[in-house]
């Protein structure tokens, strides 16, 4: 039996196993973005034209709408994690750092929601 207090035992050991979470999600989204990104680039380049009707009918396709939504969500998440590291590295003022991180998180959430909503609206509603 140890006389060491529980607090003394965990001190200096770091966070409770969450240390690699940021790193892991960054990699997971990176791996997912390889096929998604290549698909998006090839699809855009392969489109015969870039007028409104062509684009809308392209996005409205089942596979396009699905993959595009996945791309938006994954890219937003990956971007959020990346910008977070940049802010943590270069913004040294604690208050400004926290505000920047929160704002960046909110902006990314809004972008992801807007993007997916736009894709779904095009897919379901065929806008005029």
């Amino acid at each position: 039996m140890s006389l060491q207090t529980p607090l003394g035992r965990v001190r200096g050991l770091g966070a409770a196993g969450n240390g690699v979470h940021h790193w892991w999600v960054q990699r997971l989204t990176a791996v997912a973005l390889v096929p998604l990104g290549v698909w998006l680039l090839v699809s855009l380049v392969a489109l015969p034209a870039l007028d409104f009707v062509t684009l809308v009918s392209w996005i409205a396709g089942t596979w396009t709408a699905t993959l595009l939504s996945l791309f938006i969500l994954t890219a937003s998440w990956h971007s959020r994690l990346g910008i977070q590291v940049v802010i943590e590295d270069y913004v040294h003022d604690e208050g400004l750092k926290t505000v920047s991180l929160v704002v960046s998180g909110f902006v990314h959430a809004v972008l992801a929601a807007l993007g997916v909503f736009a894709v779904l609206r095009i897919a379901f509603g065929s806008p005029l």
């Binding site: 990699r27 990176a30 791996v31 973005l33 390889v34 990104g37 290549v38 680039l41 855009l44 380049v45 034209a49 870039l50 007028d51 409104f52 684009l55 809308v56 996005i59 938006i72 890219a75 937003s76 971007s79 990346g82 910008i83 940049v86 590295d89 040294h92 972008l111 807007l114 993007g115 909503f117 736009a118 894709v119 609206r121 095009i122 806008p127 005029l128």
Partner: protein, 130 residues
């Protein structure tokens, strides 16, 4: 609180080490791609709001400055994709020796240039008629 040393130490890094240059470039291209995401969401939102709204957005999206930005985004995409693949290989513990990383730094730069030029050429050339 006493001022503590903070990373990254931009002023003492030797940028002539190509692995360092490629790492920094990965961060810069990542920021460009975040801007690209913003542009993409604006574009999708304009599309979702209908042809009239899209035509209005086209004034901004079709401008010369926007085309310059698309070029930057394509180049950043090509670089970030290939440099990112190198990072994923590193994550498995491979290719971390000094000589290997110097070699792969060159490979990344060359491959990214080829992909960027090919995509840029394809994107802008194929659209000349439209």
């Amino acid at each position: 609180m006493r001022a503590r040393p903070l990373s990254p130490h931009m002023s003492i890094y030797r940028m002539t080490r190509y692995s360092l240059l490629t790492s920094f470039a990965n961060r810069v291209t990542g920021i460009v791609l975040s801007v690209g995401l913003l542009v993409m969401i604006y574009w999708l939102t304009a599309l979702a709001r209908g042809s009239r709204a899209y035509a209005r957005a086209q004034e901004l999206l079709g401008s010369g400055a926007a085309k310059l930005l698309y070029g930057a985004i394509i180049a950043a995409f090509a670089y970030h994709l290939i440099a990112g693949l190198r990072h994923l290989v590193w994550d498995t513990g491979r290719g971390l020796e000094k000589a290997q990383s110097q070699r792969s730094a060159w490979a990344v730069i060359v491959a990214a240039l080829i992909v960027a030029v090919a995509c840029g050429f394809w994107a802008f050339r194929a659209r000349e008629g439209t």
